[in-house]
């Protein structure tokens, strides 16, 4: 009996990824012959909203562009405005920003871990990872006043200083997380079921990876040691020691191993920051009191940050008034989740779609902001 091609709609709710997007699949049996993505469920019009707000008012909504990891957005916006306006940020603010960025990276990797297990049907991983991530959110609540949307890194510096005893509590949490990592390994990453399903699936070709615009852990799993924190250092990343882990397989298992090694590197960076945090009080550059007098001169710039999923870029244009002319946001998923995913899904199995999407770091809010 000849088999026909049927078309199904996979999405927009997924067990693995943090957001809503759907993939239209042409299936022959269980093998995918063609894939086309549909995005647009989360279009909120941020770039248009930023055009009619002053710089100080705009920084409060920038964090909502990316839901799982808001801090690289705040960091990019703040650095872009500082470059356009020529502001000098005090050193303690840079250390605090680096600390917040690494804590955000840790909780984003925990959320990735939850999705990676959940997309396979391994439901212990989401329960454990989300529970441990909650402890990081408790620390954020003390420091910034909010658990998910922090609104902490502002153009000119940061908003609040460290609370009493914060660094001690952060150190205790890092000890606890380090003791839990072998249990995560036993439970998922060395589990024979995961190894059987993840090896050899979702391979990125290293010859064309850089040309396609693949960034972040996906690129590092193909063997390229590229990380914006090392290539173009920003904040205090030039002062701390860390390595950039790589793998060579380029499949789902390789990407999982790269992210697992990055969790350890983040813990090591945070411990160095705890030791070296300066004791000064100044956390904000000198700016006019009236926010309508913060004028951004004419010019444009491109700023980049390394988030947990890859390179996040902001293109910012100022025009001499107190409002920015244009802020254009490009998250890593704009390439991973559309061009790369559609090609990778051809000739793979239907049951692997959610796992591949999660291992690429698909995050729909940053595609369509």
């Amino acid at each position: 009996m000849a088999q026909d091609i049927i078309t199904i709609f996979h999405g927009p709710q997924h067990p693995g990824i943090t957001g809503n997007m759907s993939v239209e699949l042409d299936l022959l049996g269980e093998t995918i012959k063609r894939a086309e993505t549909h995005v647009g469920y989360l279009h909120r019009g941020f770039e248009k909203m930023i055009e009619r707000r002053t710089v100080l008012q705009a920084f409060t909504i920038v964090c909502r562009i990316c839901v799982p990891e808001p801090d690289p957005n705040e960091e990019n916006f703040a650095r872009g405005v500082e470059e356009l306006m020529g502001l000098e940020v005090p050193e303690k603010a840079k250390w605090l920003r680096t600390m917040v960025l690494e804590m955000a990276r840790l909780q984003a990797q925990m959320l990735w871990f939850a999705g990676q297990g959940g997309s396979l049907g391994h439901y212990i991983s989401p329960q454990w990872a989300v529970a441990d991530r909650d402890l990081i959110l408790d620390l954020f609540e003390e420091l910034t006043g909010g658990r998910v949307y922090h609104m902490y890194i502002t153009p000119g510096g940061v908003r609040r200083d460290l609370p009493e005893g914060f660094l001690g509590r952060l150190g205790h949490f890092l000890d606890y997380l380090e003791s839990r990592l072998p249990e995560y390994d036993n439970m998922l990453l060395r589990n024979p079921v995961f190894l059987e399903r993840a090896r050899g699936v979702g391979i990125i070709d290293p010859a064309t990876a850089r040309e396609y615009g693949v960034v972040g852990p996906n690129l590092r799993a193909c063997g390229f040691m590229n990380d914006i924190r090392k290539d173009e250092p920003y904040e205090m990343y030039g002062e701390v020691d860390f390595i950039v882990p790589t793998e060579t397989s380029g499949d789902v298992y390789g990407r999982a191993m790269v992210r697992r090694a990055e969790i350890e590197q983040s813990i090591s960076i945070l411990r160095q920051i705890i030791r070296r945090m300066p004791a000064e009080k100044e956390i904000m550059a000198v700016l006019p009191k009236n926010h309508r007098k913060w004028e951004v001169p004419k010019g444009d710039t491109l700023v980049k940050t390394e988030s947990a999923r890859g390179e996040y870029s902001y293109y910012m244009v100022g025009d001499g008034t107190d409002k920015l002319r244009r802020v254009q946001v490009k998250g890593p998923s704009a390439v991973h989740a559309i061009t790369l995913l559609e090609e990778m899904l051809v000739d793979s199995q239907l049951s692997d779609v959610a796992m591949i999407m999660n291992s690429l770091g698909t995050n729909p809010p940053e595609i369509e902001r």
Partner: protein, 188 residues
């Protein structure tokens, strides 16, 4: 001789007609060229200067001077330089041949600019609707798109409970005038 971004700009300027160039910060430079030169410059950057990837295509609306400025940003993983190649197109009915053949990810970037600004990219294989569904109005990211009018036409604004809002400076002036009048009366 170490490779600097000025050497790079000089080499590009020797081979193409560049109408303006600027080094913005360490590792970031911009150059302006005409729409006809765009493909030549991008292919030269990719094949000869070994720029690996296209980071993004930026678009800014300069409504006062009546043009869009498109910036094609190419990035090299060996020197970590970013070069912005900028062209100016008209705000209505402009069309720029696609660069999808040079870098595949441009298909997505151009699709978004087509939907949001209305620039046509002949040769792009996927110029369908992207974020907006059944959109009938003008491209929404243009600066003359009135967002408040759009909300009033399509939604019902809730105003219940927001009555009684006063203006601070008007009330302050009223109280100052009332006090002056009171003092004047006391004086008499």
């Amino acid at each position: 001789m170490t490779e600097t971004i000025d050497n790079l700009l000089e080499r590009i300027g020797r081979n193409f007609q560049i109408t303006g160039q600027e080094v913005k910060k360490a590792g970031l430079a911009a150059l302006h060229c005409s729409q006809e030169q765009l493909h030549g410059v991008l292919i030269y950057l990719k094949e000869v200067e070994k720029f690996d990837t296209l980071t993004m295509i930026g678009c800014a609306d300069w409504i006062e001077d009546d043009y869009f400025e498109l910036s094609y940003m190419a990035y090299s993983f060996t020197t970590f330089f970013t070069v912005m190649v900028k062209i100016r197109v008209s705000r209505d009915g402009s069309s720029v041949p696609t660069v999808e053949g040079i870098w595949r990810q441009a298909r997505t970037f151009e699709r978004e600019i087509h939907e949001m600004f209305g620039v046509d990219f002949p040769g792009n294989t996927r110029l369908k609707e992207f974020f907006l569904e059944n959109w009938q109005g003008m491209p929404p990211m243009k600066r003359d798109f009135d967002t408040v009018q759009f909300v009033k036409d399509h939604y019902k604004l809730r105003e219940e409970g927001r009555e009684g809002a006063c203006n601070v400076s008007v009330e302050r002036k009223k109280r100052i005038d009332a006090k002056k009048l009171e003092l004047k009366k006391e004086g008499e």
